[in-house]
Symmetry: C2
Subunit: 380 residues, 2 copies
């Protein structure tokens, strides 16, 4: 292999695939980035077995030569050092040459670096994926759906299936569900999909979707999502992102969501976030995160928290609407803040079916997003 490539393009591609490099891998070859130079361009690959990412650098783009290829070939180079040294090279023109025993030389200006490369034959093959089950959606929508749900996955590895987000596809709609044992987040959207396509057991790790969100392009563009037996492939412009589907069956969460409310209120999202954010500061001190909400006759709520060491805090918020029985309810302020921060609506609707029943939070005028939080069993 021998080629020159423009530093900025190489840097960008390394930045993308590096998100699949795990610092805790026990498989030596996976600490490296695989480089394949072919007649079409350069492909970089990185993987931690759960996630695999490929980034492609074409020979030219918009009439500008990006890669000059002198000899095809492949090599695996240590990811951390390779990405750091490329970023610091003095010139845009970077030459990479691989000789016997994968001995690799990188030249840029008057810098010359010799790296011991690894055998690309030892690098695991990426899964071959049939492209017959495809959904297509805007990257902005995907990003938003991930942001609105993935924070609610469980971090407890004893129930691995709950560390993922469940994807359900039915009737031309895509639905994400995330839940740990204390809260649930769900977001639904109509997408461009063959109405005969139905899935209910695609579960993708929350951590993986977080990495995907970092790679999704800044500008809105259409993403193809290919669904296979136990893999999902996200196809972006020049980037392929493969992820494993989690093993197991996701629990049925539909029964958790009440169909009618005993009490309903509408409140300014910003005012509620700010008040709970302040209450959180005290609730955090006692490690409980408990904040209380008390509804009042004058269509207001009082938010309060206390810490045995520091003191107590009360906040008054006027409601936009209040209907039903006045309740006094306690909840985890951190969970409430997580739910409120993804609302993307000036006013939110909160529904209650009793002081010990789930709290349901929705944007005032959008039935596609729903957050559920279990209250704390406290009095006082």
């Amino acid at each position: 292999m021998k080629l020159t490539v423009l530093k900025d393009h190489l840097n960008e591609a390394i930045g993308h695939v590096s998100k699949a490099i795990s610092s805790r891998t026990t498989i030596p070859i996976l600490t490296g980035i695989k480089i394949d130079a072919t007649g079409a361009g350069i492909t970089l690959t990185a993987s931690d077995t759960d996630i695999s990412i490929q980034s492609f650098i074409p020979l030219e783009s918009d009439g500008t030569t990006i890669v000059e290829l002198y000899a095809k070939g492949s090599v695996v180079l240590p990811a951390k050092f390779f990405s750091e040294i490329i970023r610091k090279l003095p010139t845009q023109q970077v030459q990479i040459e691989v000789k016997d025993q994968f001995q690799t030389t990188i030249r840029s200006g008057s810098s010359e670096i010799q790296i011991m490369g690894l055998d690309p034959e030892e690098y695991p093959l990426l899964p071959e994926i049939d492209e017959d089950k495809i959904i297509r959606m805007p990257s902005d929508l995907l990003k938003m759906m991930v942001r609105q749900t993935s924070f609610a996955v469980s971090t407890n590895e004893t129930t691995p299936i709950l560390t993922g987000v469940q994807w359900t596809i039915a009737d031309g709609k895509l639905k994400f569900i995330a839940c740990d044992r204390h809260r649930l987040a769900t977001r639904e959207a109509s997408i461009d999909v063959d109405s005969s396509l139905e899935f209910n057991n695609i579960v993708i790790a929350g951590r993986t979707l977080g990495e995907l969100n970092k790679i999704l392009p800044e500008q809105n563009t259409l993403i193809d999502i290919v669904i296979a037996e136990n893999q999902v492939l996200f196809k972006m412009n020049a980037i392929l992102f493969y992820t494993r589907i989690l093993d197991g069956t996701y629990p049925d969460t539909s029964k958790l969501i009440p169909q009618a409310y005993q009490t309903e209120l509408v409140v300014s999202t910003r005012e509620l976030i700010d008040a709970i954010d302040r209450a959180y500061l005290l609730s955090r001190e006692d490690k409980t995160n408990i904040v209380r909400m008390q509804m009042k006759e004058d269509e207001s709520i009082e938010i309060s928290s206390s810490s045995s060491e520091l003191g107590k805090l009360t906040e008054q918020i006027n409601l936009h609407k209040l209907k039903g029985e006045l309740l006094k309810i306690s909840f985890n302020s951190k969970y409430m803040l997580d739910a409120l921060k993804v609302m993307d609506s000036d006013f939110i609707h909160i529904g209650f079916t009793g002081a010990m029943q789930p709290i349901i939070i929705k944007p005032e005028e959008n039935a596609n997003l729903l957050q559920l939080i279990l209250p704390y069993r406290t009095t006082g």
Copy 2:
């Protein structure tokens, strides 16, 4: 005590004094910020016994009312919670009221916070300082002198005196010296001082000077520095910064600096930094940080490093000047980068008196700044 104060001014003052709050203090009262409200304004005080900082908020500034005072008084409030909650209050007008038992109420908009305050009588008194020995200097010069020396202090607590920067005042000049056992940094400047004033045993902790640098104002202004028996007081506009002088006698370092060189070179600071920065990436892998410099007949140097695991790197740099015997010398690349990064000169002069003798780095045309690095005893 009862007053209202504008949130932004209170926030700024808290930000300044908080730099003296240590999370590791074992003295409970020092986890707090002392607030004194008098007829002149509000004074905030924080201390970790080594550093004490006071920030003053006047009743008004430029015709704008900042503080409305209803009752004088003092209280100590828990620093962490106090600073976080003030930052998040909903309105600019913040009311603080202290009642019996230092029970403190903070009101802002419809937020009300009750904090258990501590007795200000328990708060340690700040040292009383005679203001007869004063030096005055521009804040920018002080900041620069700290930046150019304090990185070289020792981090090894077994010789506490070396964790400080030595200040020498003589003949109207102020000189800073910092050294651990491997390098030395020194910076000198003429300042506005009574020529009879002489000191040679003011040693201030490098960490303290780092905190001072964060507080020194953005715009250049004159700073008064008051030197007392075992304290130094930095007087800025509205801020007083007290620091302890380290106990002990600073070693005489004047003999370490050679008076004549066997080899001298002048090189572009940027080119040398970039080359050593790349070489550092490999040298770091073997935890030695060893980088080699070899001088060549054609007025160039070769910078090289290697790692048993990764490979090796070589860099060629053309010199601006080269005089004397051609040397091959090894050094700690991290120390060299620290020294080069504070040069503030496009070209630097490096002087050598042999492969095992100190390396002396200076700006090409400025004798006020000098960095010394001991070479490594390696061959090859």
